[in-house]
C-alpha cells in the first residue's frame, strides 16, 4: 500500500490530463453540402477536421460516406423560411461530440452575425461591449495592512487540509483499533502487560502508528509529487510546454487545462499565493493533524480494547465517527461563511475542530480564537486518553462478553 498508494494518487491526477489530450481523434474528412450558400468557407480546417464543400445530390453523397470517401456529411437543406436553422450530419459511425458542437457553434455564430447585420448592428460593437470583470478581494488588517485574497484558493486549501485530516484520523485511528483487537484476540496482551504498564502499551501503539502514518504520508506526498512531476516533465514538454506547471498537486490538473494565461493573471496569482500565510497554515495543519489523531486514536483504542472482534465494534464506532463526519459535511457550508457562529463553535469543540478549523484557517482566524481551539484540543485529547486508559486497562483482559455502554461506564470507575 505504501508504494501502490502514490501510484494510484498520481494516476488520479495524470489520467484526466491524458484523457483530455486524447480527444485528438484523428483527422476527419467532412463533406459539406450547403444548399443555402450561407456557410461556404465558414468552417475552418484544423488538425482534426478537413472540410470539403461539395455540390452533389444528397443520396450520392451518403453513398460516398458509406464508401469511406468522406467520414461524415454535413447537409444544410434550404430553409422553408429564409433563415437556415436546420442541419443534418450523416456518418457511418458515431460522430465525435466536439465535431458536432463545432459545426453547431459555427452555424450559430454565422446566423447571429447575419441577423445582427440585417438589423443594422455591427457585430464588432457587440464584441467590444463584452467585458470581463476582474474582482479582487482585499482584506484590511487592523494595523492598516492590505492583503489580496483569492477565495477560490482559500476554499481549495481549506477543504484539502480538512479532508486530509479526516482521512488520516479514520485510516490510522482504525489501524490502532485493529492492532489492539489483534493483541487481544491473539492473547499476547497479558504477556506484554506483565512487562509494561497497560497505559504504556496503549500509548506506544498510538504513537507507533502515528509515526508509521506520518512516514507513509510523507512518502506518499513525495512519491506522488515526483511521479506527477516526472510525468508532467516528459508529457508536458512533448504536448503543451506552455501550460507546464509543477505547482502543488491540487491545482495542477485544473490549471494545466486552462488556456494560456496572460501575464496579468499570472502575476495576480503569484501575488495571492504570496499573500497566503503558509507558516500559519502548515503549522496549524500539523497541529490539528496530530491533535485530532491523538484524540480519536485514544477513543479507537478504547473501542478496540472493549471488544473481542471487529464485528462488535459497530455500536461504538457510530458515536465516534459522527462528529468527524459532521465536521466534514459542515465544512462544505462553512467555506461559504467561515466567520459564522456554526463555524466558530465547531472549530472550538475539540471533536470537530481538527476538521473544521482547517477550513477556516486559510481565510484568516484571530489568533486568540486559534489559541483557544488549540488549547481545547489539547485538553480534549488528554481527556479522551484518560478515559481510554481506564477502559483499556480493564477491557484488554475481558474476554467472551460483549460489553454495552453500561459496562464501559463501570470500567471507568474501577
Amino acid at each position: 500500500m505504501t508504494f501502490l498508494g502514490p501510484l494510484l494518487m498520481a494516476a488520479l491526477m495524470i489520467v484526466p490530463i491524458v484523457l483530455a489530450t486524447m480527444q485528438n481523434i484523428g483527422e476527419k474528412n467532412i463533406a459539406v453540402l450547403d444548399e443555402t450558400n450561407w456557410f461556404i468557407g465558414k468552417f475552418e480546417q484544423d488538425d482534426n477536421m478537413q472540410f470539403h464543400y461539395v455540390f452533389d445530390a444528397v443520396d450520392s453523397l451518403k453513398k460516398q460516406v458509406l464508401q469511406e470517401k468522406y467520414d461524415l456529411l454535413v447537409y444544410i437543406p434550404r430553409p422553408e423560411l429564409n433563415i437556415p436553422v436546420n442541419a443534418e450530419i450523416y456518418s457511418d459511425r458515431q460522430i465525435p461530440l466536439n465535431v458536432s458542437s463545432y459545426i453547431k457553434n459555427t452555424m450559430r455564430k454565422e446566423v447571429e452575425t447575419k441577423k445582427l447585420l440585417a438589423s443594422g448592428i455591427d457585430p464588432d460593437v457587440i464584441k467590444s461591449a463584452k467585458t470581463t470583470i476582474n474582482l479582487v478581494t482585499i482584506r484590511l488588517d487592523e494595523d492598516g495592512g492590505e492583503t489580496k485574497s483569492f477565495t477560490e484558493i482559500n476554499v481549495a486549501l481549506g477543504l484539502f487540509g480538512s479532508i486530509l485530516i479526516y482521512f488520516f484520523i479514520f485510516i490510522f485511528g482504525s489501524q490502532v483499533m485493529r492492532g489492539i483487537i489483534e493483541e487481544k484476540t491473539s492473547r499476547i496482551v497479558e504477556v506484554i502487560i506483565s512487562s509494561v504498564k497497560p497505559f504504556e502499551l496503549m500509548m506506544g501503539k498510538i504513537t507507533g502508528i502515528a509515526l508509521v502514518g506520518l512516514t507513509q504520508f510523507l512518502l506518499w506526498v513525495v512519491l506522488t509529487g515526483s511521479i506527477y512531476g516526472v510525468f508532467m516533465l516528459i508529457y508536458g514538454v512533448a504536448e503543451a510546454p506552455q501550460v507546464l506547471t509543477t505547482e502543488s498537486a491540487m491545482t495542477s490538473p485544473a490549471e494545466s487545462m486552462l488556456p494560456e494565461m496572460n501575464n496579468e493573471a499570472l502575476t495576480e496569482i503569484i501575488e495571492v499565493v504570496d499573500a497566503i500565510n503558509f507558516p500559519v497554515i502548515i503549522g496549524s495543519f500539523i497541529f490539528y493533524f496530530l491533535g485530532g489523531y491523538l484524540l480519536y486514536a485514544a477513543l479507537f483504542a478504547a473501542i478496540g480494547s472493549a471488544v473481542d472482534n471487529e464485528a462488535d465494534t459497530q455500536q461504538f464506532m457510530l458515536p465516534v465517527s459522527i462528529p468527524l463526519i459532521l465536521g466534514l459535511v459542515v465544512s462544505n457550508f462553512i467555506v461559504n461563511n467561515p466567520e459564522g457562529s456554526l463555524a466558530f463553535w465547531l472549530s472550538i469543540i475539540p471533536f470537530t475542530s481538527p476538521v473544521v478549523m482547517m477550513v477556516r484557517i486559510p481565510f484568516g482566524v484571530a489568533y486568540g480564537e486559534l489559541a483557544l481551539s488549540m488549547a481545547l484540543l489539547v485538553c480534549g485529547f488528554l481527556f479522551t486518553t484518560w478515559i481510554a486508559a481506564k477502559i483499556y486497562r480493564t477491557g484488554i483482559l475481558m474476554y467472551g462478553k460483549k460489553p454495552g455502554y453500561k459496562e464501559l461506564w463501570k470500567w471507568l470507575r474501577y
Binding site: E182, E183, T185, S186, R187, I188, E190, V191, I192, I193, S194, S195, V196, K197, P198, R393, L397, Y399, K410, Y414
Partner: protein, 313 residues
C-alpha cells in the same frame, strides 16, 4: 523459613463480586508453590496483582520484604493461562522483542534463545512466522520466553494445557531444574496429579478466600481419614465374621482366587500397629498400607464442603 513473597490481607473487589477477600499467603524461597482452586476462585486475580497488572483494593505484597515496585517486573516471569503470540511476526524476532521488554539486551537474548531453542528442538523455526507453527510449538516458545531472563520468581498458570505427554514431561523436568537453580515458582493448575508430583507447598483458594495452606505431605497427614488397605493370601474361611468382631468399618472387599483385598476404616484411637495385630489372624498378610488422601481428595473435600455450605445458606 524466609518467605520470598508475602501476600498480606489482599482484597480485590470487582463491580459486583469480591474476587479476593483478605487473602494472606507466604511463598517460601526456592520452592514450587501450588496455587489451587476451582474456576473463578480468584487465582488469576491474585496472579495479576502479583504481576502488577492490576492493583489490590487493600493489602500489600512484599517481595523479599520490599513492597512491590515497577522494577520488580524484570524479576518475574509470567506464563498466563490465556497466552498467545503475534501471529504475523517471526518467531526469533518476537522472542527477542519479548525478552527485551524484560530488560535483556539484544545480543544476550539472542545467545540465550539459541540455547533454549536448541534444547526444545525448535531452532529451525527461528525465521518462520508464528502462524505456521502448531499450538504445542507456540507453547514451547512462550515457555522459553517466560524463563529466558532467569527470573527469581516464575508464575505458571496452567502451563501444561495444550502439550502432549512427552512435552509435559520435558516441561516438568525443566520446571524442577529451574527450582534447583534457585527460582521460586508459583504454579497454578487444576491438575492435581501434577501438583503432587511437583509442588512442595500449596494454598487452596475458594470463592476469594484462602481455605488451606501448607506443605503437601503435612496436608496429607493432617487430612488422613484412617483408611487402610490390606491384602491376604489364603484368608481364613470365616474372615467375614472375624472382621465383624473388630472395631473397623469395612469399606470394600475383593476376593479373587486366593487373594483377598480389604479396604478398611478405623477410628482415630486405634493406631496402625494395633490394627496390624488384629489383622494377622485373618490369613497370610501380604500387604498393609495406610491410604493417605490424594490432593485431589483434599481439593474436592475442601471445595465441596464450602460449596455445599454456600448452597445451604
Amino acid at each position: 523459613m524466609h518467605a520470598y513473597l508475602s501476600i498480606k490481607e489482599v482484597t480485590k473487589r470487582y463491580a459486583n463480586h469480591l474476587a479476593l477477600d483478605r487473602v494472606s499467603i507466604e511463598i517460601p524461597q526456592n520452592k514450587i508453590f501450588g496455587l489451587l482452586g476451582p474456576n473463578g476462585a480468584g487465582k488469576t486475580s491474585l496472579i495479576r496483582i502479583i504481576n502488577q497488572i492490576t492493583a489490590p483494593d487493600s493489602g500489600e505484597i512484599l517481595l523479599k520484604g520490599q513492597t512491590l515496585h515497577a522494577d520488580h517486573v524484570t524479576k518475574i516471569g509470567y506464563l498466563p493461562e490465556e497466552r498467545g503470540l503475534y501471529k504475523k511476526m517471526k518467531v526469533g524476532e518476537q522472542a527477542i522483542y519479548l525478552a527485551r521488554l524484560k530488560g535483556m539486551s539484544k545480543s544476550e537474548a539472542q545467545k540465550k534463545l539459541k540455547i533454549w531453542f536448541e534444547k526444545f528442538d525448535i531452532l529451525n523455526w527461528w525465521d518462520r512466522k508464528v502462524e505456521e507453527l502448531s499450538k504445542g510449538m507456540q507453547q514451547k516458545i512462550q515457555f522459553v520466553v517466560t524463563v529466558l531472563h532467569q527470573p527469581e520468581l516464575l508464575i505458571f498458570d496452567e502451563p501444561f494445557s495444550g502439550f502432549d505427554p512427552i512435552n509435559v514431561n520435558l516441561l516438568k523436568a525443566e520446571i524442577l531444574k529451574l527450582r534447583d537453580q534457585g527460582a521460586t515458582i508459583i504454579f497454578s493448575t487444576h491438575n492435581m496429579a501434577s501438583v503432587e508430583e511437583l509442588c512442595d507447598q500449596i494454598a487452596l483458594i475458594n470463592q476469594g478466600e484462602k481455605v488451606l495452606e501448607g506443605e503437601v505431605n503435612a496436608l496429607k497427614e493432617a487430612n488422613r481419614n484412617y483408611t487402610y488397605s490390606c491384602e491376604f493370601y489364603h484368608p481364613v474361611s470365616n474372615w467375614q465374621t472375624e472382621l465383624e468382631k473388630l472395631p473397623v468399618e469395612l469399606l470394600g472387599s475383593d476376593f479373587i482366587s486366593n487373594k483377598l483385598k480389604l479396604h478398611l476404616k478405623t477410628d482415630p484411637t486405634l493406631n496402625s500397629n494395633e490394627l496390624l495385630r488384629m489383622m494377622l489372624p485373618l490369613g497370610e498378610l501380604t500387604s498393609f498400607q495406610e491410604l493417605l488422601p490424594s490432593m485431589n481428595d483434599i481439593f474436592i473435600q475442601k471445595v465441596g464442603k464450602t460449596a455445599k455450605s454456600a448452597s445451604d445458606e
